[in-house]
Structures are given as C-alpha cells and as structure tokens.
Symmetry: D2
Subunit: 437 residues, 4 copies
C-alpha cells in the first residue's frame, strides 16, 4: 500500500548526441510523433538536456560559447500526449519541482559573440564570455563571479503545446513578413524554418523533412502557446495555463534554468543546466473560451526567494540611449539604459563589466516597467537584491574594490579587452542599431 | 523638552489657483527662486496640489478629463534649497510618509481623450473616462469600479533637483531633435518649452518669461535627475539618491499618487490626489562621482502591501500586435499586449474595458520585462493581485458576471460606445501608430 | 457630490484629565452608557488617550514611570453603540488606519519598577527605565536607544465589546479563585474590581459606584472578548471578529501602540502613544454560532513591514531557567530565556541591558512557540530583524562597541546600577518566583 | 575540470534495523565514536532515517503509532568530526537542502496514544491516529486529510554537537532533580538515561554500556547545544550557529521533517520522513565567547513559503483552560487554548477534531507569543494560512461541510470515538494535569 516513486516519462542520455534521442526534438510542429503518454491528473518526471545539448563545458574558456552551433539547440523533451486534451482546452501544468541532475551539479551563463547569437548589450559587449556556476542544494556560486551566492529561482525556459497547422502557418507568415521588411543591416530579426539539423523526435525521414521545412524555430516565445517565454518566476509551485491546439496537447518542455534575471539579457543569460522537471498535468475542457485566453497565464508558487523590498537597490533608466539620443517611448532602450546604470554602479567594487553583464542576466533581478506614458521617456527600473552579495553593496558601503578575478573569455580577450587578434579593434561601443542604406 | 510637530515648509491653498501660489511652479529651470530653505538632515512636510491643479472634480462625468487644460498641470512644490548641497553631491531623500489631506479623502484616475493627452491604449480606447476613489485610511474604493478595495502604495509621481543650465540645454536639444525627426502624423512625440501658462514660482516677469522660453516641461522623467519617473514603489520609507546640479539642490516634488500600477498606462493613470509628503533630506558630498551615478537610484521602504507570489495571476504578452503584426523585440508592443490580455480576462466578471483600463492603471499591478533576447519576440508579464477583489477572480472561479455599474464617461459616450455625436464613429480600434506620408 | 472627511465620533482633550471626559472609561462593564452611536457599515475616527492618561512625559527621567498611578490607566474610548448589533452577533472591526496626533509625534516605552507594575524580567531588571521615541512619518527613533530606526507596526493594544452581566460574573469569579489560591508571596496574580479611580464615562454617581464594585479591570485580555490582547500584528488593514455580548455591542478601544514586540515584555513595553484610530464597523448576524467562535479571530492587513526571513537573527530558549533549574514544558520560562539570549547578544555592540529590554519590548520582534512536546523542554524562538539597526548586527559583524548613551532611569540609578539610595542593594538578580511559605 | 557531485558522508539502509548501522546512534554522549570526518568549509550529504527508525508504515491503521517502541527512536546520523573544531568554537551549519529519498516520497504525522507518548492535547484526544502524506516535488497531500496541499518547509528536527562530559553531567543532574520533584501522577516529566536499546554507533560493548548509563536522551532540545529543537523555519538556506563542546565537534543530525507547525503539537506532529540533508560546515574559532552565545542562534534562508500576512486567519488564546479555570500567565495553557479555537473553527467544514489536530501539528502554522505581561492572562496567537486549503476557509466562506473522509485510527476507534473495546470509555476529556496525592 502507499505511493511509489513518481514515474519518469522521459530519460535523456547526456553522453549521447541529443539529435539521436527519439524523445527530444528541436522544432514546433503538429506532426512530431508523441514521445510518451501522460494521464489527465498524473504527475510525472521529465528529464531535459541543457539548451545547447551539451556544447558548453565546465571549464575556464569561452571559446565553446563563441563557437556554439546555434542550429543544434533547444532539444526539447516531448512532445507528450496528455490524455483527453483536445483543441480549445487548457492544459494546466503545475510545476511540482525542478532539479539539476545529482551528478551534474553545475550550469553556465554565457555572453554570446556579437557575430554568433549576440545579446541585449552586444553593441557594447561584443565578445564571448562565460561563467560556470556550482550548485550546492538550493544555492549557486561561481568561481568566475566571486562574492556572490544566491538561491535558484529554478524554472523551465521553454514550455508549451504544439501549434496546429493553422497556428504554425500564422507564425511562419508573420515572421517572414518581418524578415522581408527588415532594414537592419547586420542582424537577423527572426529565424525562418531551417532544415539544417532539424530533429523531429521519432519521425521518419519524410516527416522529418517536412518538419525541417515548416517547423517553427524554438527561439522566440509566441503568444499562442508560450514556448520560450523565459519567465524567471515560472518556478516551483507555479501553475501555468496553456492553450491546446492539437489532439493530445503535444506538450514539450526544456531549456531548464537554475536562475535567471528579468530579461535574460545576455541571451544565454540564465544559469543553463540539464535536469529533471516534475509536472502535474490537468486538462481543463474548453478552457480557452471559458477564460478568454489568447496567451498563457500563470500563478507563481509560494517559495520564491524573498529578500524584502528594502533589500533591493533599484536603478532607473529612460529612453535616452548611451549616445544621448532621445527615443520616443521606447521601453527596450530604457531597459538597456537601466542595466547599464547597474553595471556602472557595480564597477566600484571591482567587478568587470562582463562579470556584471553575466550576473545581471542570471541573478534574480527585478525588471519593471515603471512609467510608459510620459512622452518621450519610458522609464524602467531594475531591482538588484543586495543579499546575493557577501559584502555590503549599499550606497553607504565603504568596501571599495575587491579582488574579483575574471570571468571566462574567448581566446585572445581579457576582461573585455582584445589582447591578441583583431576583432575588438573594430569593437563598436556604439549601441543602437545600424540600418541598411 | 522633546520633539514638537514637524515643520511644514510649503502650504498649498486648494481654493486658490495654483498659478497664483509662489511656492509652486510648473517648469524645470535652474533660475526659479527658492520657495524655502531646508537644513541638511532635516525632516519637513511639504504640501502638494494634485497634478491637474484641481481641474478634475469628484463627480460622475468625465467631461473635465476630456477638456483638461494640459498647459496647466504639474504645479510642483518648491524648489527648495537644501543647505550645503552643491553640484556633484547626491541628495538623499527619504520619504517618511505621504498622506492625502484629511478633509480631501479622495482621488481620481482618468483615461484621457485621444485628442487631448491620450494614453498607452488610446488607439483602442479613445474616449475620456474617469473613476473617483474614496480613501479610508490605507484603503481606497471607487463607486466607478465596484468590488475592488486595496491599500495604497502611496508615492510622489515627480521628484527631482533642478537641472543646471547645461543639463537643461542638453534636454532641450535632444528633445527638439526627436520632434524634428518625427514621422508620426497625429501625435506629439515630445513637448518643447512652452511660454503659455508658465508658472515660475516667485519669479519676476522677466525671469518668468525666460523660464517660459527655456524651461523644460515636466511630463517626461529624464535620466539626469529623475523628475516624473512615476515609479509606483517609490513609496513610504523609500530612500532616493538624487544628483544635484545647482547650488542648494533646488529640489521639487509633486504629482502625489495614492496608488499606481507599473506603467501608469492611462497617462492620468495613478490615483491622483492632493496631499502632504514628509521627507528627510541629507546631503552626500561628491556622491555622484563616488557612487558612479548617471541617474537616480532608490531603495524601497519596508511597508509595501504584500500579497504573496501565489496570489497573483500573471499575464503574458509578446511583441505581436493586435493586428497580428510581428514587431522586432519591441517591449512597448509586448507590454500593450500583456495589458490587453488582462482586460480580456476580466471581462468575464462583468467589468467594461474602460473599467479595466482604469483599474490596471492605478492598482498595484506588477509589470515585468520577462525575456528580451529571443528574436523577434520580447515577452513581458503583468501580475494582477487577486486580493484586491472582493470575489474570486482565479481561473477556477465560478462567479460569472456581476453588476459592475459603470465608470464615468464624457458626455455622449456610454461604456466606451458613442451614443450621440460623432467622434466614435471614426473611432480607430486600430492601435499602432499612423505615420506621416 | 462626493465624499467628505470621515466623521470623528470621539474627541479626547489631552490637556484635561481623562477622568473628566465622559467618552472615556476604565472598566469593562455592561452598564457604562454609550459614548456615541455608529451605523452598521460606517467608517469613523476615534481619538484615544495614551494608556497612562498622560502620566508619562517626554523627558529624560524615569521617575514618572517609577511613580505611575496604576489605578489611573487604560482610559478607553467608548463604549460605542453599533446599530443593529445584538448578543450572538460578531462585530467585524476593520482597522483602516492608526495615527499619532500630528502635534504629538512621540511615544514612550517603559520598564516598570518591580514594586509598581513590574514586567516579564523584573526579577532581573527591577528598576524603572524609559525610552522616548520620536515619530517621523512611518518611522520612529529614540535618543535613548541610538542606532535604531524602524517603521511602526501601529495598532491598538485594547479593543473589544463589553461583557454581558453573565460574562462579567464569570470573569470576576474565576479571577477571584486564582487570587484566593495564589501562593506567590510578593506579587499580584490578578486584579480584582477596584472602586478607586473608577471612571464609568457619563454614568451617574450610583452607576459609577456599581461599575467600581463590579467592573472588570482592563489589564488582562480575556478569551470571551479580546480586550487587552496586545497583538502586535493587529495593525492597519486588519479585520477583527469580535463576539457581541450586549445590545449595541458597546465597543471600546484604546491603548494605542506605535509598535510592539511579541510579548510586550516590559509591560509598558509597546511604544505607547495617544492618537486616532479609523475603523469600519460591520455587524455579522449570528456570527458567533455560525463561525463557532469562543474568542476573537483576526486577519492581518497587507502592509506589515517586511524584512525577509533571511534578515532576522533567531534566538533559541528552553525551559531551563537562569539558575540552571529545569522546568517542565514551561513556555513562559523558555520565552524569558530566549529574550535573555538576545540581550546577551546585543551587549557586544555597547547597548546596556535596560536598553535591550526596552528595545525588545517595542521593536517588531517575532516570538514563536517552536517545540512544545519534547519533555521536559519547551523551546521558543525570538526573531530580531537586523534591518532596524543602522549598523551590522549579524554574527559576522566586526563593528564592536559603539557609543550607545543611556536610556532614562529613575533618580539614583545609572545603567541599571544603583548610584545612591538603597533599593538596588537588595536587587534580586534571582528571577523565578518567590513563593509564600 | 569542474565540480563533481557532492560527497555523501553517511548512507543509511532503510531495509536494515537502525540499531545495526554503525553511523547511527540514539544518545547524546561525548564518547560515541566518529562516524566520518568532514573538512572545515566542506559541503556534504548526510542520509537520515525517519525518527522512528521505520516503525510507522504507509497504511491506513494507526496501530503502529499506538504500539510504537519509544526506546527505539531518534537514530541520528553521526557523530561527525569537523576538522579544526575545538571547544569554544561555533560550528556554522548551513543547510543547503533537505530532500526525501526519491523512492520514498511519503511521510507520516501521528497522534500518539496518551499512554505511550501522548502529546500537547492528549487529555482531550487520547487515541492514536495517523495521516500519511504523499510528496510530489515541493508539495504534499494526504488521503487522510483531504482538500489540503502545501509546500514543505522542510527541515531537520534535531541537530547539534555532542555535549562534553561536564555538559552531560549538568543535563543529567538537572533533569533528575525535575523527576524527583515531580508531583504529576500519570506522566513522565523527563526521561533519565536508559540502557535499554541504546545505540552508540560503532562503540564497543564497554563503551556502549557506558553510553547507555550516562547518555542523554534525545527527546528534549537543550539550551547548551540545541538538539531536538523542532524549529520549523530551520529550513533550506538556514545558517545555524552551534556551540562546540568536544574536539571535532561531533555533530549529529536526524529527525527530518517535510513540514511542521509551530509547536509540533501532536508530538509526532511533523511530517516525519527519511531523507538526505546537504550541509556546509564552517568552524568559527572562539565563536561562543566572541558572540556571547549560551544557546544556538540561526538565520533563516530566503525560500520559506510565503502567503502574505492577509492570507492567514489568526486565532487568539488566553490562559483560561477548557474547564474555565484561570491560570497565572501560563503561555502553555494559552497556546493549548489557541489551538482548540482553531480546531473548533475548522469543524464547520467537516474535518474531525483528530484531522485538525494532525493538520495543525504539521502544516506551517504560525504560533506567536502575543502578550505575556497582562496579569493573569498570557495571550498567544495561531496563524493558519488559508492557501493550504483548496476551498475557501475565510470567515465569509459559504462552503459548509465537505466530505472529509477520515484519518487513520487505532483498531477499535473511529473518528475519535471508541467503537469496540474499552479504553475510551474511560477517556478523559478533562485536560489539565492530574497531580499525585
């Protein structure tokens, strides 16, 4: 009598390429075969690879980050059939727990090279950089960013149900229009379907080819299903209400994060990890119409780390960019400025800009929209919890500069400065976007 | 022996036009004369008019909102001399308390007419609307938005030190450039200096004329000094660190809010009120350089209303607009969508869209930047505290529609629909911005 | 149109003896005449004297505390008739706000002389002592306990409805039995009715005499109605459900506290003040039976100061007293030990024991019952918020001793040591209780 | 390069009697041999048996609780040598995580029979009862107490360093004095050393006999080292400062709890479980003197479940017992009354008293000392979080009685009523304590 251990519906083998594992996939498409079946009401465990499928190593060089193959990412676990789910239902996903693998107690945060992935501040910080984080229970620390320790607000970066054919068509059309209309000279504005390195789970060759041609890329979250929403508070105990678009729901999950700051600013900004997520599934019949939902909603769990409001320093930023140019009500510009204000503040304790950039990507910083109606300046704020540092970072601190070592860099770069080779000689501290003529 | 009552350094007379009161002013300019002097270390009380200077009445028509004179707003209290403050210092402003006047226990939230002020959703909700809020101690309720009661996160919308001549010149130049470059057909992108209805405190006629020609408008917050930052958490107990640009600091404050949501989306979106703010002032010598600050920072107080993370519903929005158009990493678009998702959700309980728009402007909703790096979709979230409602708004609620009455509208409009006259016949439910040819 | 200021149903005159004010009283008795009438559903303001009726002055001597007349205390405001309330109902009392008088921004905490009132640690700290607190908005500070500032968790120490004749009879009987059975040689175990200095509001002489003979003293809280429960979290926004025993409820309130720690250990341990409480009243018909209540319950408001769990130091205490004697599961002994552990801890920063005793009485310390079943030791904990100090009190602090000045003492005592006269020569540092032979 | 999995210094075999495992022990004694050695600064995992050593089964009968052998409990893991620790030091124990075994996702809460263990309310609830809890990630539910789910505030009930010979002598002396002086007719007031079923780890026969004769029982916490303090908030992320009494510290830990309420009132009141605790150890030289500690202190971690103050119902209790007898300032009596008030309140939803008793023992209820100086009534409060129930338990709830099934009982008892046999015919609903003639 009594309960036995919770069923694991998806195992991953970290020693084997993700592309060879039939219960993983890296596109959103309605036809990818089910990886397993879950009962309505059941709680199961699902193992997940890290979002790069093991490309990033636990070492002190960011060359792996610089050279990461971005066509081989986001191997998601699933898709799972949830019994009884049909289009128009909501899938209520309750995250009972998320844990790293016991024998893999580490993760990484990366700053991507501006030419290979980039990030929110890549015009200012174009080099690849990396921090490795060690996990001890609920806490993490990094040899690359000393004097910091915090409890993980652990969560999946990606979760959602497969699109229907119609939803998929909508995605591909509207993103193609954006790409066609783009006047940006030097950066992708969206990623169209890409047959290269497609992984469609247990699909046969024909289906795989179809998925490669049509399947939506996993990088953006999308309003119809959530997907890669990267919401830091979608952690243990959260209930997420996901629209169902295909019979059986075809739920997928992956991209586990030990922690993340609001914005996940360095792109590979969370503390990325492989691990196990425990989920309870419930089907809410006709939930989409009954609740009037066009996008997922969620209710956080009760165990978020709590610091008290008075233990945060809040930085303010406005939509005037780093060149002094006034932008009209641009929250994106304002948020970038807010982060820069925080980086500048932390310098006086000895942290390098790249260390700060990494830290603000993955620590539980609060990014708020403050004022969005006072033309021409949007105002955003960034709340930095003081208690993740083991020294006093308050404005009245007299600590001064500490020995902060260094984060990991790509070969030839030290502390954000090129020490050999050439790229940084042309490093643009410009920011803003360069438009096509 | 012992402490006597705290000194009031600024009285306002609500029966008299703000423009006739010499300790008020409505421009940022270094030459506006001091209204009073405060010692370094002193705590004082400062009375403030509401941001419209009394134009909005406690009644059930939004005609006053529709016809508000926007050249007669933001009469700030001050500027105050803080002894010992010189450029390069920080002024540490600790907000000891904010209270409405005891005999004026009410405030208002307005949706501005699209043609006179507008707001974050004015393309969708173009009519003027209003909610009056009654205060009873820490709580507010509105006859225009029933079944809601919450504790105020009371704060000043505007506070800052006067710009130096150089800083002022910077502001005027960069905003003029934005205006010159604007391609928007039907809306102001910024407000240049405006001599009409300028109020320069106790300035003589000549100085007043100068302030009218040069003085920066008070609508936008600005990175160099804060100003109209509209940060909802800058409430009781907060410490704000403000850069000083002129001798004596010339600190001003006003635009008191009983409560506000992140974004203050309807422009007149807070619960606007007249009242009294109690502030302690301290000068931190050379603070700007020592702390490396380019913009104000603040540390919140300990008494924010707390609901628990699990007592919020979070809505997700992405940078795909209401016409299905994909935008590139546009947080502004994403935040607008997030709010629309919440409005749609609340409809099922009987609230009108305008009631929701008003409520989400002023209730303590949490607007977060979630993911800002997953091209092309920025993701934002909006956290709605369930406990401000006196019925169950959770996804599992079976409450159904309640009798929600109506908010106040401009004459000829009922529940957002034109019942007479013509404007709404051309009402654009378009959203997005119309560009000049 | 619109709301006017909230009605004040009880004014107190701080210049006049409380005993001469007909809307005050200092006994619990069903026959004390109504002071005013309040409608079911109404919100009103009620002014209150401080609990000593003005006996304690804002100065630097504790002689007033030493010589306080304890027959002239607890002048409560009321009793108020709430329309429609009848025995068996619940009175729902929602505390909308509590404020000190604007022109009396101060309060006091006292250690009572062991021979005149005493307190939880009077065997160890027998002298009278005092700290005066100055209020600035939500915060208080004391010249007698430097380096401390905190936001008030402001609340009424006493609130309740009048007992019926039957309930009053129960009280008098059971407390008389305790007094009769007491074997304590040197301390009162309860206070019987006392005609001296009785104040029965607007009662005539005959009724006053009756109230003096029968009326229950106000010192203890009692299960049937609450009364002097001294619950620190019963602050702004709290809803209290009070059993009604007589027609019209006869609600009384008083003994306002700017702040208090769990236990209010020094007896006059809160920050005592005069002020104004704003209350909304609602009658819940038959609530006592419907909810199965024998004692009041309450739901706290949302604005308690929040420090975060990790910003508290918790001290542990067990039921082994300061002489090393083992007591059987005695939570009272354990809590006394817990407080002593905290006093000992704070000594290393330079605070005197009396300063600590005063501080732990009035600061928002958390006193928890931890383990109550592990014979023979009850275990209690005391959580001290670190952020009420302006220096680092954590175990890793290197601050050392600061200049902490002194609290106020009775004449002839300095820092808890007798410098003249005789009492302290016989000062028992014994603790525990001395029993009659 | 990089971190490998955390070292496990103590494995337990749940299939084997605890008494045969050399890294467990069930007495406090300075001579029990080290079970393993841990470096100063190291983080390790320690497996622990449940506190009954496996006597309680996952079934629907409480006969195992009724007949539990209380001489075979508290098999602690250890004692561990921490390198460098010497008497006078503090051992800083940081609890990085606590987890149940993955293949044992369940625990139990028991009401002990009055004649075999008893509990805080055993005079009223004398029968044995039990609830089995199933764990799914951070949450637990019970088939024996429906409509309840909550996140565990997971913690060790027992942790501490071994006493020195002197400290042990102190314990044995003072507890023997209590036993000798006791006038209680029918209950043990303390447990003297007991050779029966002593387990002294890897001690040889001679040493084992010595430990049996002298070793302190593990039931009570004790001020000198903590021990079985049963503090519910000593959870993940907590830092505990433990006095060191012997070279190498001889740290032991056990009695893991998935959750517990303040007081752990039913004695076996937590959700008892076997599992793994991850701890970081640091030695603070001379910490006892430097910090002035006589008992352990701790600082909680940041991840406690948070419900918001306004999501608790607080019950009030006073030192008047259930027979109407007035006690003098007795917090123990007051706390018992507070719990009874809560049980009475929950009845109206259909829960039996035994279900409530079990629930209030293990759910994260807040037990506070409120007022401890208002003679003769001590006042305590109990905060019950509303959000652990899946229905509305607020005072305004209209839910009525639900089908609540039953907890497990000993044979012959149903819902607290004897249905066969004899014990309950003499069941004393008296409460209070029976004294020897």
């Amino acid at each position: 009598m009594g309960k036995t251990a919770i069923r694991t519906v998806c195992k991953v083998d970290l020693e084997k390429p993700c592309s060879e594992q039939p219960n993983l996939h890296n596109r959103w498409h309605p036809d990818i075969p089910f990886a397993a079946t879950i009962k309505d009401g059941e709680t199961v465990k699902i193992e997940c690879a890290d979002w790069t499928g093991g490309q990033i190593l636990n070492n002190d060089s960011a060359d792996d980050v610089k050279n990461v193959d971005l066509t081989k990412i986001h191997y998601l676990s699933g898709p799972f059939e949830v019994e009884g789910a049909t289009p128009g239902d909501l899938l209520l996903v309750e995250i009972m727990d998320v844990q790293p693998f016991e024998d893999q107690p580490w993760g990484f945060t990366g700053v991507f090279d501006r030419g290979n992935g980039g990030g929110f501040l890549d015009e200012i910080y174009p080099s690849a950089a990396k921090a490795i984080w060690d996990f001890e229970g609920i806490f993490c620390t990094s040899r690359h960013i000393p004097h910091v320790k915090f409890a993980g607000l652990i969560h999946p970066g990606i979760l959602g149900c497969a699109p229907s054919a119609e939803v998929l068509e909508t995605w591909n059309t509207r993103e193609a229009e954006l790409i066609a209309a783009s006047k940006l000279a030097d950066r992708d504005v969206a990623l169209p379907p890409q047959p290269k390195n497609v992984h469609a789970g247990s699909a046969d060759a024909e289906l795989k080819e179809k998925v490669g041609k049509e399947g939506a890329r996993t990088v953006p979250g999308r309003p119809e299903h959530g997907g890669n929403c990267d919401i830091k508070n979608l952690s243990r105990g959260s209930k997420v209400y996901l629209p169902v678009h295909v019979p059986g729901a075809k739920f997928s999950v992956g991209d586990l994060h030990f922690s993340q700051g609001d914005g996940e600013i360095s792109f590979c900004g969370a503390i990325e990890m492989a691990g196990v997520i425990t989920i309870n599934f419930k089907v809410i019949k006709n939930g989409v119409a009954n609740l009037g939902l066009k996008s997922p909603i969620y209710i956080p769990g009760p165990v978020e780390p709590q610091f008290g409001p008075g233990r945060h320093i809040f930085f303010e930023g406005f939509s005037v960019d780093e060149h002094g140019k006034q932008h009209y009500m641009d929250v994106t510009v304002a948020y970038r400025q807010t982060i820069l204000r925080c980086i500048e503040y932390l310098r006086r304790f000895g942290y390098s800009d790249y260390q700060c950039y990494l830290l603000l990507s993955c620590a539980p910083v609060q990014g708020h929209v403050a004022g969005i109606v006072d033309i021409p300046n949007a105002c955003t704020t960034l709340g930095l919890p003081m208690d993740i540092f083991d020294f006093d970072i308050s404005p009245s601190s007299s600590v001064g500069k500490l020995d902060m070592g260094s984060c990991a860099f790509e070969t030839g770069v030290t502390d954000g400065k090129v020490t050999s080779g050439g790229k940084n000689s042309e490093m643009s501290f410009g920011g803003g976007l360069t438009y096509k003529e």
